[in-house]
């Protein structure tokens, strides 16, 4: 008998504080597995966002910083410039990356910073209790779009992968999901590829992961997984939006 699934070394023993069925946990594990497999744990420096995953510094088993809301890419930029051989990973939510952090993420990509961004798109502000995110879908009800998001009042949901793929400094931009075993596998592949390209110095890399927030969506974890497939993926198509060729 051999163990086929267990806790990766890049994660500490600490129990996640996340709500039952929250997919933050899955993505944490995938990132940790990639770092283990690439043998980068000791070179890794993680930047945690302000969002439900703010406490990720309690979970990752490598050096981490907790960033001011939205500024993770700026922090990662400075560290990477000073320590070019380290592996810089920011982990950011949709409020953090696409709302308050829009300027920082776009400029990090334009500057072709050699960092990897894990972007958790759960179409809502989880930590603060379910307000509208830039990625909230049209019609979706949140505490700050109580009658459902409309173009007139709230504008269009931000397609960050598409937007960042425009940036010449972006080496790898991919959107995946964790709503099925197959997509979980693809997500892990994407994260690994992004980190590898970062370490090759090819430029800015980002993996947008469509995730769930059962608590603030008011669904069971299983319903939430279905909602990702039925409503999010149709608007946020999965796939690689930019893959820079080597050399």
């Amino acid at each position: 008998m051999k163990v086929v699934a267990k806790r990766p070394e890049s994660l500490q023993e600490t129990r996640f504080h996340y709500c039952p069925g929250c997919t933050h946990g899955i993505v944490h594990r995938l990132l940790a597995e990639c770092l283990d497999e690439l043998n980068l744990r000791e070179k890794a420096i993680g930047i945690c966002p302000v969002g439900c995953s703010v406490l990720a510094y309690d979970y990752f088993n490598f050096d981490t910083l907790e960033a001011a809301h939205g500024r993770a890419p700026a922090i990662a930029t400075a560290i990477k410039r000073l320590l070019p051989d380290r592996c810089l990973v920011t982990y950011q939510g949709d409020g953090d990356l696409a709302s308050i952090g829009m300027g920082e993420i776009i400029h990090a990509s334009l500057r072709a910073e050699n960092i990897t961004v894990i972007f958790i798109n759960n179409a809502i502000y989880g930590m603060t209790g379910g307000q509208m995110a830039p990625t909230t879908l049209l019609g979706q009800v949140t505490t700050t779009s109580p009658y459902g998001r409309t173009v007139e009042a709230n504008g269009y949901p931000a397609k960050m992968a598409e937007l960042l793929a425009q940036s010449e400094g972006a080496a790898y931009v991919c959107r995946t999901a964790v709503n099925t075993p197959a997509n979980v596998t693809r997500t892990k592949k994407a994260i690994k590829k992004a980190i590898q390209m970062q370490m090759k110095g090819m430029g800015f890399t980002m993996v947008e992961v469509l995730s769930t927030c059962p608590t603030n969506w008011g669904m069971s974890p299983v319903e939430a997984m279905k909602w990702v497939g039925d409503h999010m993926i149709p608007y946020y198509p999965l796939g690689e939006f930019k893959v820079k060729e080597e050399g």
């Binding site: 504080h17 996340y18 709500c19 439900c52 930590m127 603060t128 209790g129």
Partner: protein, 181 residues
């Protein structure tokens, strides 16, 4: 004199709602009241609790270190708050989820297995109303009859079905307190 009661339990157990109900009822019956939750939209899991202060005169401090009464819905809450209840205070315990009794001997302790009772009546989410019923029957902080009158006001906007379910649960608590304690 100001009466202060603490409601404590898990996030999902409706402890804040218990406090709210009591506050509404107290206000409706012409008293002064304040309701202070331990909030934390930025905290996941862990215990939730709220403190309700009721008085005839104007309320000075809505907070206290030593509440007169405590409604304890889970084990961690008992561990945390037992020592803080006023001498000779009242502690009501959800015995379905608390596997011990207080160590203090000066306290008046009433145990109600609200989860079991709720499951029995096929309304698992009604556990908190059961406890509330038992509490009011026991203490008359607000008269049970009065409280019942305010149901429609307090649950304004909610479906008849839900109001009825809550009233049933509430009465079951009252019943339990009358007969079994």
């Amino acid at each position: 004199m100001e009466k202060q009661v603490l409601f404590a339990g898990f996030g999902g157990q409706g402890v804040l709602a218990m406090g709210l109900f009591l506050s509404h009822a107290a206000m409706s019956s012409g008293k002064n009241v304040s309701w202070v939750p331990s909030y934390g939209a930025e905290m996941r899991g862990g215990t939730a609790n709220c403190l309700v202060t009721i008085a005839e005169e104007e309320i000075s401090s809505p907070l206290t270190e030593n509440p007169l009464m405590a409604i304890i819905m889970n084990r961690p809450s008992l561990d945390k708050f037992e020592k803080r209840v006023k001498p000779n205070g009242l502690v009501m315990i959800n015995s379905s989820m608390v596997d011990r009794t207080p160590d203090r001997t000066d306290l008046e302790v009433l145990a109600v297995p609200v989860n079991e009772l709720a499951e029995e009546m096929g309304n698992p989410r009604g556990a908190n109303m059961i406890m509330l019923g038992a509490y009011l029957e026991k203490t008359s902080v607000v008269q049970v009859e009065e409280a019942l009158e305010y149901f429609p006001v307090i649950f304004k906007g909610k479906s008849e079905r839900l109001i009825e379910a809550n009233r049933k649960a509430f009465m079951a608590g009252v019943e339990y307190a009358r007969t079994r304690m």
